[in-house]
């Protein structure tokens, strides 16, 4: 019985680890709006490098850099709240150096894979 319950505990924790929040409303939260609420699986900064071939992007924040793989399943969102317009779905070419961006990774064990990337479209 103890083994079964240990398995159940492991399942509960595993279930709990694949995602840790209601990601979908994050689409509409402006980039960097809530630094104090950032998940441990999230990162924000400025895009300093994009590798089209490897499909990676690198964020720089306060001197430290983190790279993320952008897969076909990664959601890319164009945050146009600064323009007073709704968020749009984007594509890999929209990830341009110099743009502010935020990334949520896939979580434990896949911290270098982007679950979503949100880039801020600056006002003209």
């Amino acid at each position: 019985m103890r083994i079964g319950l240990n398995v159940l505990t492991a399942m509960v924790i595993l279930f709990a680890s694949v995602a840790d929040a209601q990601e979908m409303t994050e689409r509409y939260i402006p980039v960097g709006a809530y630094p104090s609420l950032s998940s441990k699986y999230m990162a924000a900064g400025t895009i300093v490098a994009v590798d089209d071939e490897a499909r990676t992007m690198t964020l720089k924040d306060n001197g430290s850099e983190r790279s993320f793989r952008v897969t076909e399943n990664t959601k890319i969102w164009l945050d146009r709240s600064g323009l007073g317009q709704t968020t749009l779905d984007g594509k890999f070419p929209d990830l341009a150096t110099g743009l502010k961006a935020e990334v949520r990774s896939l979580g434990p064990g896949r911290l270098d894979v982007a679950y979503w990337v949100k880039v801020q479209i600056p006002a003209p």
């Binding site: 399942m11 509960v12 209601q22 441990k40």
Partner: protein, 461 residues
């Protein structure tokens, strides 16, 4: 003439004395002497005002639109039916911008269901869920898990770090928007960090601040037997996932906190919503795509917050307990796992009498919680403790709802008529206290005595 003057003076003195007595009694009845609130209490009060009044420049809804103080910080079809048509709950019927794919008014009015886009906003017509409104009572005891905070029906109700503090951010985006464009600064404003602090403080102050310590010394035989079944890990097995009738699990001897389980509610046959021909996609629970699991709610507050489960599929408490006898549960991952660790390979299998006993236990602990809550509210109104809902009248108003709920959950199953009689007395005193100018406090104190008597009928502890 001299005699007349002396009589007049005597009469005047009497009038003065009578007036002074009236003023003294009135002041005694109305005086609101409270200690200076602590910074935490000030934050909680600010949070209360935001919760019930702040629209965040959106469609008119507040947190309190769906989490009503009069309805246990939730909302159900019976309560919805009492609301005027221009209530902000019905904004989808009032604002053409929200006429499609924001809410389903029929499901809202008939079943108390609210539309959520938990799996994304890219296909509003086809990708959505319909869920009941979870109450916000006892959150202090029902959010933490080893893997992080768990909020809402599937545990992933809050964006960002998933915390209760972040919950309002997602709620404003989902439910407060003026249009489906959901542009911050245009369709709503997002809560500030300070507002999130205050909202969190208020929500954490609602209801129980700690879990029960079972077993309780209950007086009724039905509830006592129900408690035994509840705590029996070989029979009711309830305490495995609802430790002390709360929202936290103990698995393999470890505290699993507020855990998620797939209990098969989605697989129940003949759900009410299926009978009316509305197309509602299956709810896949936690995550995107969902893993089919839902978060464990506390049970202490269950009896007076029907309907039950994430989709409001079960109306009665007895039905909710009986669900765990069903094929839907016993064939679910959770049911199968319970069966795999049972010496006889049984998930949960209770007789009808045992179902009623467990429900009786849940009704009694709910009534005890109603009494505890009402006492706290009345004492808050009397200035003996922090008044969460404000002035004495509002404290007494909410206390009356708590007492009514206790009457309903006990009398709904014919339990403890003597306690019900005391609760009725307590409610009458509260109603009279609210109306009284001169005897407000003394009547409120009478209600406290009646509540104590009611509690004594339910438990000897």
């Amino acid at each position: 003439m001299v005699q007349d003057l002396a009589g007049y003076r005597k009469h005047l003195r009497f009038l003065w004395l009578a007036g002074a007595v009236v003023v003294f009694v009135a002041l005694n009845g109305c005086q609101d002497v409270r200690p200076k609130p602590t910074p935490e209490q000030q934050l909680t009060t600010q949070g209360r005002d935001l919760f019930f009044n702040e629209t965040f420049d959106g469609n008119g809804r507040t947190c309190g639109t769906c989490h009503r103080a009069e309805d246990n910080l939730t909302i159900d079809p019976a309560f919805i039916s009492t609301l005027p048509d221009d209530d902000s709950l019905f904004v989808a019927e009032l604002n053409p911008e929200l006429g499609a794919n924001f809410e389903n008014p029929r499901l809202m009015r008939q079943f108390g269901l609210i539309l959520e886009n938990l799996d994304g906003f890219s296909d509003l017509e086809n990708v959505f869920t319909q869920r009941g409104v979870p109450h916000t009572l006892g959150l202090r005891t029902s959010v933490d898990s080893p893997a992080g905070p768990r909020t809402g029906w599937s545990g992933d109700g809050a964006p960002l770090d998933g915390s209760l503090r972040a919950f309002a951010v997602g709620a404003v985006i989902q439910h407060f928007t003026l249009s489906l464009n959901r542009v911050p600064g245009v369709d709503f404003r997002l809560p500030t960090e300070d507002e999130l602090d205050a909202l969190e403080a208020f929500q954490l102050a609602l209801g129980r601040q700690e879990d029960l310590a079972l077993p309780l010394a209950l007086k009724g035989s039905m509830a006592t037997r129900g408690q035994e079944i509840f705590l029996d890990n070989a029979l009711g097995k309830c305490n495995i996932c609802h430790r002390n009738a709360g929202a936290n699990a103990t698995l393999g001897g470890q505290d699993a906190g507020n855990a998620n389980f797939n209990t098969g509610v989605e697989d129940l046959a003949d759900q009410p919503i299926d009978q009316i021909g509305e197309r509602v996609p299956p709810d896949d629970g936690f995550g995107v795509p969902g893993n089919g699991t839902f978060n464990t709610p506390p049970l202490v507050e269950a009896a007076d917050t029907p309907p039950f489960f994430h989709n409001n599929s079960i109306e009665t408490l007895e039905g909710a307990v009986a669900f765990y006898n069903s094929d839907a549960f016993n064939n679910s991952p959770s049911g199968q796992l319970l069966a795999s660790i049972d010496p006889n390979g049984v998930g949960i299998d209770l007789e009808a009498t045992q179902v009623e006993a467990v429900a009786a236990f849940l009704r009694v602990i709910n009534a005890l919680e109603n009494i505890r809550g009402a006492v706290e509210l009345i004492e808050g109104g009397l200035g003996k403790r922090f008044a969460l809902f404000g002035d004495i009248d509002e404290q007494l108003r909410i206390a009356a709802f708590e007492i009514e709920d206790a009457v309903k959950v006990l009398s709904g199953a014919g339990l403890h008529p003597a306690a019900v009689a005391q609760l009725e007395r307590a409610r009458k005193f509260v109603v009279k206290a609210r109306r009284s100018i001169f005897r407000k406090k003394s009547l409120a104190k009478e209600s406290l005595r009646a509540l104590d008597d009611a509690k004594s009928e339910l438990t000897s502890s």
